[in-house]
Structures are given as structure tokens and as C-alpha cells.
């Protein structure tokens, strides 16, 4: 071959390969003619237009291949729409079952993203943050924050802390955190206005500094931009507003302890009675949440073992008792997630949701696939005619798949809308807790991507098997006028039977899970609290937080309880610092073995401690 002919031969080879990609019907009708024509004109084109002409020739076939496929696809869609509108009953039932399945799957995914996998809002690099699973004492925190090899920065906070905030002539209880000045810098949260806490807040200035949340600023302060530097009465003490947190930021643990107010520990016990009794110096007072930002390259496990070693050293230094258990001292959880979870526990939650969602979706798919199979059997004649007209099996399968994709996409859109609505309803739900906990459940783009993936997969799942089976048809009886079409029958092992069985099995399993869940809820609802909550009322007052002295508060509380006792209809009343089952940061008590000679005392048990009035047990009617 001469050099001048080489581009021509190469172009022809490439052209033939590309023309091979035409749809089957087009190729069999015109493929030969196109190739013949191209072979005839390729030489003259090369001579007249050179390489540009050859490129134009190749571009022509490349573009045309795409156009022919798109045309076919469009034809399939129109044909599919016609077929679906012809059987509205089938279409409606398929749409509804799939839309429900997709809705549930997307809801589960949104819930997972909304609670378990969602990062704390406004926090920088949330994946670097780790937190201690249980609160620690401040002296321990002080030691942990010196672990500069592990943490680039650390913070501690106390939560939930109620603050009585007075503004505009009224006092409102607002929940917040008492924090180390490093709180905002460690989280990487920048204030929207004013400044965050810094070194100057380590010590108490004339007035304690306070930061407020965007929500509080908008709600209580009317969004006034001039509030920075103004005074806010917090627990009866004037405090200066130094900054406003960014929008959507409600503290380091918004799912458990929402914060609208932050004050540094240096504010002192006048503002925060929680800090009384030298709380920052007591190593037995485990009431500080600890969060650290891991240095790059440091793993959670490394941090955990380092903290463990440090904690054990401290235990030894503070006490000569041997610790009661040998478990890890400071189990770490994700610090940058909405819900603090241990790393190894996350898959448990996510997989539970995924399995449930997948099961529901599979049942919906099996249902629709079964209906498709029944419908395909009805359509055998139509399929046989198309096959006999020269349509390839692939072409028919593609047509049937297009129909199932149409149903799946419509169901996907419907399911997504339904899910958006449900999530909106769920986010409106307020839990009956004293602290305003919000679950910000939105359908996010992850969920949208998930729904789309699920939709496409669903379309393939319920469409492919019926399509393949429907095209395995014996043409002769199918084409006979009025002829009965014999399906291939394997009565025991047919696809429809298998689908039915799996549908039943899946439904049964879901029913069982649902039954167990409702049993669990019922058990929790009827749990024996150990006391009789009937006709029991709780009034929460906090004179100290309102700025009264503790002596004054004490006599007030005494008088209050006496007056209440005398009220008609009240059989008994008592004061208590805390209600049963509330886990606050109060130091518990530890029981040790007797201090016998020559023996190291061992901690054998521990308990929580509540200070209560003398009528406490009569009032709550404790059951033994």
C-alpha cells in the first residue's frame, strides 16, 4: 500500500467500526449501502479535501450513530407511554407500589443523613473532631488538653445549662453551654457578628461575656445589629454580649443539648451555680463534655489509647483505690457529627436503615415485576409480531425496559415528593423534653442521588426479568389467530412463584420487625419507673439563677413548699434538687471494700446521689 493511500484505508477501517454501532434495524436496512457509498467516495474526498474531508466523513457517521440511537430511544418512550396509558389500572397500581417503596427508601436515607451521618452545621472539618462518650472532670480535661501530639486544639463544655435571661421586662429560661474559651476556635465556628471567646475570656472581666445564637438573636432580640456590647441579664447578673453565632449553629451537640447561649467558665458561680463548690477543681465531678480536634494523621484509636493511658495515670495520682473496671477510660465518639456515635457503632445504625429500606423496596419491586410478568404474558402476541417483523430480541427487551424505566422514573418523582412532605412533617415534630431538641430533617442532595439510583436500579430490577422471559417466545402458536400461547412452565420453580415467595418472605420479616419494634415501644412506655407518677406534678424554680442569694433562696423554697402543702388537693409535696432518672453531672458516690490492714481498698460499686426533702419518698411513692 502506498503512503498516500494509508489514511484512506485507516479511515475506512474506522468508519466500518463506527458504522457497526448503528442500531440493529438501521444497520440491517442501510448499513451495506452506507458502506458501499463511503467506499466509493472516500478516495475522491481524500484527493479533494485532504485530512479534513476524511475527518468530516468520520464525524458524519459518529453523529448519526448517536442520533439514530436517540431517535430509537424517543420512539421507545412514545410507544411505552402509549402502552402504559392503554392499561391505566396496571400503571396506577405499579406507580403507587413503587412510589411508596422509593419514598420509604429515600426517607430512611434522609433520616440516616439527617441524624446519623449529618455533620454539625457550620463546623470546619468536622471529621477531625472527636468527643469523649461520657463527661469528664475538669482537672482531667486540663491534663487531656496538654496532649499536643494528639490534638491540635481541645474544648470542654458543660451542658445542658439553664440560664434565666431577662430582656424587655420578662425572664425566659434559655438553654446554653458553659464553655472553655477555646470552644469556638476548636470547632472552627466563626461568629456572624462580634467576636468569639478568646484568651481574654480565661479570666473574669468586669462583666462576664456571653455569646448568643443566631436563632436567639433573631427571636428574642429582634435581629438588632447593635446588640454587640450591650448588656444582657443572665441569671440576674449583667453580662456583655460579645458575639452572635452563625446561622444554624446551635452548639457542639444540637441533637442532645441545644444551645442558644454560651458563657465562659470564668463567668463564675454567681452566674452559673453549676460551678459552685469549686467544680473546676474537683476530679470526682464528671460533668464536662470533652471535644478535641485530632492532628492530621492521628487516628481515633491512637487518641483513645493515649487518653486511656493519661486517665489511668491520673486515677493513680488521685486515688489509691484500684479502679472498678478495666475497660477503656475515655471511649471516643465522633465529635463533628450531629449524633455522637462510636465509630464502630455507625455501620450498625446505617445498615439497619439500609436493610429495612432495601427490603421494602425489594418487595415493591417484586410486586411490580410480578405484575409485569403477567402483563408480558398478555402481550406475547404483540411481541411475537414484532419479532416476526424482524425486530431483534434486544430491541424488544429494550422497549420493555423503557416502559419499566418510565414507571420507575415517574414513581421516583412521586416518591421523592412524598418523602419531602413526610420529612417536612417529621421536622415539625417536637419531642416532649424540657430542652428544645430539634431534628432538622431535610431531604438533601444525597437523598436525591440515592432516590435516583434506587429508581434506575428498580426499573432494571423489575423490568429485566419479565422482559427476558417475555421475548423467549415460540412464534408459530403465538401468531396463530386466536391461538393460545403456551408459556414455558416450570410450575414449581417459575419466576413468578419465586417472586411471590420472596415478596411474602420479605413482608413477613418486615411484619416481624415492626411487631418487635412496637413491642419494644410498648415495653418502654409501660416501664416501671420505680415510683408512682400518677397525679405527680413537677414545678421547677431557680431563685439562685434569678439573682437571689442562697440564704434567701433557701428560706423562699421552704416557705414555698409549706404553702403548697397546705393547698387543698395536695396530699404531699417535697423539694428535690433533681428528678429521678435525670442524668446530670452530680458527683456520684463510690463504694469500696473495707479498709482492712494490708489490703488496697477496691471500688465495688457506684451510685448517683440526689439531695431531697424529708417527704420525698412519701410524695413520689417509691416502690421497693
Amino acid at each position: 500500500m502506498s503512503d498516500s493511500r494509508r489514511p484512506v484505508a485507516a479511515t475506512l477501517r474506522l468508519y466500518r467500526a463506527m458504522a457497526g454501532a448503528f442500531p440493529y434495524e438501521f444497520k440491517s436496512a442501510y448499513g451495506d449501502e452506507i458502506l458501499q457509498l463511503t467506499e466509493e467516495i472516500v478516495e475522491p474526498i481524500w484527493r479533494r479535501h485532504g485530512a479534513l474531508g476524511l475527518l468530516r466523513l468520520l464525524a458524519d457517521v459518529a453523529i448519526r450513530v448517536v442520533i439514530e440511537h436517540l431517535a430509537l430511544f424517543w420512539h421507545d418512550i412514545r410507544y411505552g407511554m402509549r402502552m402504559l396509558t392503554r392499561s391505566p389500572g396496571f400503571t396506577a397500581v405499579a406507580l403507587i407500589s413503587l412510589a411508596l417503596g422509593i419514598c420509604i427508601a429515600t426517607c430512611a436515607d434522609s433520616e440516616m443523613n439527617g441524624i446519623i451521618l449529618r455533620n454539625l452545621p457550620m463546623v470546619t472539618n468536622p471529621n477531625q473532631l472527636v468527643g469523649a462518650q461520657t463527661p469528664v472532670s475538669y482537672p482531667y480535661y486540663r491534663r487531656y488538653r496538654q496532649l499536643h501530639d494528639i490534638f491540635s486544639s481541645t474544648l470542654a463544655y458543660m451542658a445542658p445549662v439553664p440560664f434565666n435571661v431577662s430582656f424587655g421586662g420578662r425572664t425566659e429560661r434559655t438553654w446554653g453551654h458553659l464553655v472553655t474559651p477555646s470552644y469556638f476556635s476548636t470547632l472552627g465556628v466563626r461568629p456572624m457578628l462580634g467576636r468569639a471567646f478568646d484568651q481574654q475570656d480565661e479570666k473574669l472581666e468586669e462583666q462576664p461575656a456571653v455569646m448568643i445564637s443566631y436563632r436567639f438573636w433573631q427571636g428574642a432580640m429582634g435581629g438588632d445589629p447593635g446588640v454587640i456590647g450591650k448588656t444582657l441579664q443572665v441569671n440576674g447578673r449583667p453580662s456583655m454580649i460579645v458575639g452572635i453565632g452563625p446561622k444554624d449553629f446551635l452548639g457542639a451537640s444540637p441533637a442532645l443539648f441545644v444551645a442558644d447561649l454560651w458563657m465562659p467558665f470564668s463567668s463564675g458561680e454567681q452566674v452559673a451555680p453549676e460551678l459552685a463548690d469549686n467544680a473546676l477543681e474537683r476530679h470526682d465531678l464528671n460533668m464536662f463534655q470533652f471535644v478535641g480536634r485530632l492532628k492530621p494523621g492521628v487516628t481515633m484509636a491512637q487518641a483513645e489509647s493515649q487518653l486511656d493511658a493519661t486517665a489511668r495515670q491520673l486515677e493513680k495520682a488521685y486515688s489509691d483505690e484500684e479502679p472498678a473496671d478495666k475497660g477503656p477510660r475515655v471511649p471516643l465518639v465522633t465529635g463533628g457529627k450531629l449524633l455522637p456515635l462510636r465509630k464502630q457503632d455507625i455501620p450498625l445504625f446505617t445498615e439497619f436503615f439500609m436493610v429495612l429500606a432495601g427490603l421494602v423496596l425489594l418487595i415493591a419491586c417484586a410486586n411490580v415485576a410480578n405484575m409485569m410478568l403477567a402483563r408480558a404474558a398478555d402481550r406475547r402476541k404483540e411481541i411475537a409480531i414484532r419479532l416476526s417483523q424482524g425486530a431483534s430480541r434486544f430491541r424488544i427487551v429494550r422497549q420493555l425496559l423503557t416502559e419499566s424505566m418510565l414507571i420507575a422514573l415517574a414513581a421516583g418523582a412521586l416518591g421523592f415528593l412524598l418523602c419531602t412532605y413526610l420529612m417536612h412533617l417529621l421536622s415539625q415534630l417536637r419531642m416532649p423534653f424540657p430542652i428544645p431538641i430539634t431534628y432538622d430533617l431535610n431531604v438533601d442532595w444525597h437523598a436525591l442521588a440515592f432516590a435516583l439510583a434506587v429508581t434506575v436500579l428498580t426499573g432494571l430490577l423489575f423490568g429485566l426479568a419479565p422482559a427476558l422471559q417475555a421475548t423467549r417466545v415460540d412464534l408459530t402458536p403465538a401468531l396463530k389467530e386466536g391461538g393460545k400461547i403456551q408459556l414455558r412452565r416450570h410450575p414449581r420453580l417459575s419466576l413468578r412463584n419465586a417472586l411471590l415467595v420472596s415478596q411474602l418472605a420479605g413482608s413477613l420479616m418486615l411484619l416481624l420487625i415492626l411487631g418487635l419494634l412496637s413491642l419494644g415501644i410498648q415495653t418502654t412506655m409501660g416501664i416501671t419507673e420505680g415510683f408512682n407518677p400518677r397525679n405527680l406534678y413537677l414545678i421547677s424554680v431557680d431563685p439562685v439563677r434569678d439573682g437571689h442569694s442562697s440564704e434567701h433562696a433557701q428560706s423562699f423554697l421552704q416557705r414555698l413548699s409549706e404553702r403548697i402543702r397546705q393547698l387543698p388537693g395536695v396530699s404531699s409535696a417535697s423539694l428535690t434538687e433533681s428528678v429521678p432518672v435525670l442524668l446530670d453531672g452530680n458527683a456520684g458516690v463510690t463504694f469500696s471494700t473495707s479498709d482492712a490492714v494490708g489490703e488496697t481498698p477496691k471500688a465495688v460499686n457506684s451510685a448517683r446521689r440526689y439531695v431531697v426533702g424529708k417527704d420525698y419518698f412519701d410524695t413520689t411513692v417509691f416502690r421497693s
Binding site: 458504522a19 449501502e33 452506507i34 468530516r56 458524519d60 457517521v61 453523529i63 448519526r64
Partner: protein
């Protein structure tokens, strides 16, 4: 499904340029693909090149719309290439071609009138 009404020639207007050229080249005689391509090329002085894949794509659509049909007439055996198919205009195709030609003529008249220039006929 209700039976489709037969399409009117006007429903095809304005005709796609490629379709117009193909119909035009079949106006006087039946042609095969190569012939249509050459005819269009010569008639337009090389300005319109119907490349093979595009040409057969148009032929397929014209066949689907029944504007052209395969011709049963073949040339004499010594010049006939058995692999080639010949195409002819259908009655509908001829009416569509006429309607499109008329539309284009009207258009040209409007253009000349707007510009205030006489038509070529008037020039000569």
C-alpha cells in the same frame, strides 16, 4: 387507538433542507443514494454535501413518512448495480415538494420586495 389521519403536505412545512434536496433530486428521475448525493453536489455547486450516514438517515425518515418509496424500476442490466436500491417520489412526496417550493418562492418574493430590489426575472 384511533387510526391516524393521513398527513397533509403542509404539515411537513417548513421542510428540512436535506429532505428538500433529496426530494428535489428525485423529482425527475428515480435515483440511488450515490446518485442523489452527486446530483445535490452538482446542483448546488458543491455547497451542499449530503454525507453518507446523514443521507441514509434522511432517506429512512422520508421512507417512514412515506414521502419516498423504493422504486421497482431498475436501469438496464449492464449499468445496474444489484446492491443498490433506487428511490422514487410518492404522490405525497411530490405534493410536499411542490408546497415547499411554493413556500420558498413566496419567501424569495418577500425578501426582494423588502429590499426594494427587483427579482432576477425582472433584471433579465
Amino acid at each position: 387507538m384511533p387510526p391516524n389521519k393521513p398527513p397533509t403536505p403542509e404539515s411537513f412545512l417548513p421542510l428540512r433542507p436535506h429532505w428538500f434536496h433529496v426530494l428535489l433530486s428525485l423529482a425527475n428521475q428515480d435515483q440511488h443514494g450515490y446518485g442523489i448525493m452527486q446530483e445535490v453536489l452538482e446542483r448546488t455547486g458543491g455547497k451542499v454535501h449530503l454525507w453518507p450516514a446523514t443521507l441514509y438517515g434522511s432517506l429512512k425518515r422520508l421512507l417512514d413518512e412515506e414521502l419516498i418509496a423504493e422504486s421497482a424500476q431498475r436501469p438496464s442490466p449492464e449499468v445496474d448495480d444489484a446492491r443498490r436500491r433506487y428511490y422514487r417520489l410518492t404522490r405525497l412526496g411530490r405534493r410536499v415538494l411542490a408546497a415547499e417550493s411554493e413556500r420558498l418562492e413566496d419567501l424569495v418574493r418577500v425578501i426582494y420586495a423588502k429590499r426594494g430590489i427587483p427579482t432576477r426575472k425582472a433584471e433579465s
